[in-house]
């Protein structure tokens, strides 16, 4: 028996109208949508650069753009995708929307701080977009010195400031989540009854607050060095470029866990709902999230195996890098086991979940190649690394993000997206993705280095395959943009729990009222209480 459609007259979207009611909102749900708009914009900008890169790489010669331009293209693609799309995506959109709801709260602990986080994000984005339109930046998203501090003639300082500022948005969001999860859970909602989405965001927030400040200070020092012409990281002026790499990667490695952990959180929700089964090994998945957060801080040196660091340091970082892979593997096995004797349906979110499992598995396994010192010497700084991280970040994070957007779309908008188009897009994205990035593993082992504008002709066929795949992938991403917007007006009206899912967010109307719950819920069930029987909604 489906619950009756319950679209109350007043909800968070129609409670007030006008630009001011959005730009000065403190409602976490509206702030989530503000973030959704912002990161979608940045996704387009970063994606546009990707299109140009793949177009250029169809031929061995550098004949589409000049080298200076190409170097700016890959730099800005990386910067914008990492800092302005991937890192905020799930936490700032889905996390902001769902964390209070999943724990039965009316809002986050610090709603005005939440709005400030969005404004800080926008300001940081403006600095970076200024750098982009004023001529670009060409240091690589990794800002290695002394190229970035002394030799580059592009808008390094503006970009560094943009990244510096945006970092605070991340820090404050993480702070907000930590306090909210600790202090604002509904009565009866003990830690081990929390949805794994919350565990994932908690672990992510720990990384955000501990790691981001180090990047902030490092990038600030590079900017200062550039402006004042002093030598903090430039050996010609007495500095140490390897120190920069250590400080940079100390954040930027954990940053990749900031990106993947929330996607894993989404995965647990999707697999449970669309198998109608409690997640297998709940405790193991929860602790794996924490283990990934802790171990993630100890492995940064694996980006520096050929940088000239000592052999013994390399050994330590290598073994730790193998260790950090284990909790991720444990999660994949647990999700697979959840399917066993479940009741599985193939709606769009579940298709994204299947895609995630496949692509994240490949991405994670190829990480082992990079942790293996003997192989890493050969493949580091080649397209092998590029393929590896795109499998995780695009095959993992973006699939998780899209799966989550589709799953919670009815809750967010009160409408259903068209299921047929949803499945089609998921399939197109999966195929396009593999065609784009699998050939890059081969290119990398063959020896094609990263960040190359032109290349020897024997690499062309694999590059053409990759570019062809990218065009399919691009189409795949456009399809949901279109139908999601379409659904806002013409989509079927959704009731409060169209998926018959467990979780407090489904116990309120779609879209929810501003205060989320008429009355604070009292929790008596374990998480994912999909036991035999009907789903009850009060």
């Amino acid at each position: 028996m489906r619950t009756p459609a319950s679209e109350p007259r007043e909800h968070y979207l129609n409670v007030s109208y006008g630009v001011r009611s959005w730009l000065f909102t403190t409602d976490h749900k509206r702030i989530a949508l503000l973030y959704l708009l912002a990161i979608t914009f940045f996704f387009f900008v970063g994606g546009a650069f990707a299109v140009l890169i793949r177009l250029e790489l169809m031929t061995p010669a550098g004949d589409l753009v000049q080298s200076e331009t190409y170097n700016k293209l890959f730099t800005m693609h990386g910067l914008i995708m990492v800092f302005f799309f991937l890192i905020p995506s799930i936490p700032a959109v889905l996390g902001n929307f769902l964390v209070p709801m999943m724990i039965g709260a009316r809002d986050l602990a610090f709603p005005r701080l939440n709005l400030a986080s969005w404004y800080i994000f926008i300001v940081g984005g403006l600095f970076t977009m200024f750098a982009v339109v004023a001529g670009g930046v060409d240091t690589g998203w990794t800002f290695y010195t002394p190229y970035s501090s002394t030799y580059s003639n592009t808008h390094v300082v503006a970009t560094a400031l943009g990244v510096f500022i945006t970092g605070f948005s991340s820090i404050l969001t993480g702070l907000n989540f930590i306090v909210t999860i600790h202090k604002m859970r509904a009565p009866g909602l003990t830690w081990f009854r929390l949805p794994l989405f919350i565990w994932a965001h908690y672990a992510t927030s720990l990384i955000m607050v501990l790691g981001t400040p180090v990047l902030a200070i490092t990038i600030a020092l590079v900017a200062i060095e550039r402006v004042l012409r002093i030598g903090i990281f430039d050996p010609a002026l007495g500095g140490d470029p390897i120190l920069f790499q250590h400080l940079f990667w100390f954040y930027s490695h954990p940053a990749v866990y900031i990106m993947i952990l929330p996607a894993m959180g989404v995965m647990s929700e999707l697999v449970a709902c669309f198998s109608r089964k409690r997640v297998f090994g709940y405790g193991f998945i929860a602790f794996s999230s924490l283990a990934i957060a802790v171990l993630g801080f100890l492995v940064w040196g694996h980006h520096m195996f050929v940088s000239g660091q000592s052999v013994y340091a390399a050994i330590v970082f290598s073994i730790l890098s193998f260790l950090v892979a284990i909790p991720s593997a444990v999660k994949v096995f647990n999700w697979t086991a959840t399917l066993y004797k479940g009741s599985i349906s193939y709606q769009t979110p579940m298709l994204y979940a299947f895609g995630f499992i496949g692509l994240f598995t490949v991405g994670g396994l190829t990480g082992l190649f990079l942790a293996s010192l003997g192989v890493d010497v050969h493949v580091t700084d080649t397209y092998f690394v590029v393929a590896h991280f795109h499998y995780i970040m695009v095959g993992g994070v973006v699939m998780g993000y899209l799966g989550g957007i589709h799953f919670w779309w009815p809750k967010i908008s009160g409408r259903m997206y068209p299921e047929g188009w949803g499945r089609l897009a998921a399939l197109v994205i999966f195929i396009g993705f593999n065609l784009t990035f699998f050939p890059q593993f081969l290119l990398g082992y063959l020896g094609m280095p990263r960040r190359y504008h032109f290349y020897p002709p024997e690499f062309q066929v694999l590059n053409v395959m990759s570019s062809a795949g990218a065009s399919i992938l691009g189409v795949g991403y456009l399809i949901p943009m279109v139908y999601l917007i379409w659904s806002l007006r013409y989509g079927a009206v959704a009731d409060s729990n169209p998926w018959e899912a467990k979780g407090l967010e489904w116990q309120t109307p779609s879209p929810p009222p501003t205060q989320n719950f008429e009355q604070t819920p009292v929790v008596q069930d374990e998480a994912y209480a999909y036991w035999p029987g009907e789903v009850e909604v009060d």
Binding site: S67, Y144, P146, Y147, Y151, P235, P241, I242, R276, K277, F280, G281, S307, G308, I315, S318, I319, L323, A329, V330, F333, T336, L339, Y340, K341, G342, S343, I344, S345, Y346, F354, I357, G358, T361, V362, L365, L368, F369, A371, S372, L373, G374, V375, V377, H378, T380, D381, L446, G447, P449, R451, Y452, H453, Y455, F459, Q460, V461, Y530, P532, E534
Partner: protein, 316 residues
């Protein structure tokens, strides 16, 4: 478009085969595990597909033995990979003692090579087959990285420091070398060639190549020109330590610490002489930063290295 493109690089060095063996092991493990996951997911997804809306399966909370199994087995496999990779890495990082030593100076956007016999090359590097070759490298500007895919070796080249790598070529041929650390506009253009010659051909090349002074001879000349011998002589007293037999030996510093006199120590002593003062001497040496190029520094170091062998030979 070249349709006869390779899918796998050639093996042309002593370590290439070992690297590829580890690689194939990793590929095999990856194929096994991903197939396992894909098949299980596919199988479960089909076998347990929802047949009616009223299906509500019984919960299965977990299984400790299964958790331990799929934690410990991957951990074991990971450790095997680690040990294998680390042992290979030790080989890759440790040049054999009798390696042919070539110095490399990278700059935006070219490679400059200097052979011990005085031959100099730009962007192309001739090496003999079947002999270990050690490259000692530095950069004049930003970070570069010297990468020869068919040898499966790579090492960053840093400004202000020396890094080194070694290889032993096993197959004659003309191979790509790449710059593998983004270094600015012409990063893609820092293409080089490594030309591996059988020993007879290599000897011919050595004599035919434009030979200048050997690095050690050029270094001796610079040593004189810059006035180093004023303080660094056997009879110079307290002015400066004698350099005969210095290279490769431990040095006692003021304050009690000991350092090993390698290329990095010599470089620092010339550019930043007050960083480490030898025990028993005063801080009087001036810096020569800005007065000597990177190539010149390699030559002086070659000269100092030669003092080890010369003086020992003289003493006999």
């Amino acid at each position: 478009m070249r349709l006869d493109f390779p899918l796998f690089p050639e093996q042309a060095s002593t370590v290439a085969g070992r690297v590829d063996a580890l690689y194939f092991f990793l590929v095999a493990v990856s194929v096994v595990f991903s197939s396992l996951i894909f098949m299980l997911v596919g199988y479960f997804a089909v076998k347990y597909r929802r047949r009616s809306d009223a299906e509500w399966p019984r919960p299965i909370l977990g299984d400790l033995r299964l958790e331990l199994l799929w934690t410990i087995v991957p951990l074991g496999i990971a450790l095997v990979m680690f040990v294998w990779g680390a042992s290979l890495y030790f080989t890759i990082s440790r040049p054999p003692a009798e390696a042919l030593e070539i110095s490399v100076v990278a700059k935006q956007w070219m490679w400059k090579f200097q052979h011990p016999g005085g031959q100099r090359e730009i962007n192309a590097l001739h090496v003999p087959m079947g002999r270990p070759v050690k490259l000692t490298m530095t950069s004049e500007d930003v970070i570069h990285s010297f990468f020869v895919p068919v040898f499966r070796v790579k090492m960053d080249v840093l400004p202000g420091r020396y890094t080194s790598m070694w290889f032993e070529a096993t197959k004659a041929g003309d191979y790509h070398s790449f710059c593998a650390e983004y270094c600015g506009t012409q990063h893609s253009g820092m293409l080089g060639r490594v030309i591996v010659l059988v020993p007879a051909q290599y000897e011919r090349w050595l004599s035919a190549a434009a030979v200048g002074e050997s690095p050690a001879a050029a270094g001796a000349r610079l040593f004189q020109q810059l006035g180093c011998q004023n303080c660094h002589r056997a009879d110079s007293g307290e002015k400066g330590p004698a350099l005969d037999g210095l290279f490769g030996r431990p040095v006692r510093l003021q304050g009690g610490a000991t350092v090993f006199a390698d290329e990095a120590y010599l470089r620092e002593s010339i550019f930043d002489p007050n960083a480490k003062i030898v025990a028993g001497y005063r801080q009087v040496m001036p810096t020569f930063r800005g007065q000597i190029s990177e190539e010149g520094l390699f030559q002086i170091i070659a000269h100092i290295k030669s003092l080890t062998k010369e003086e020992t030979a003289k003493a006999r």
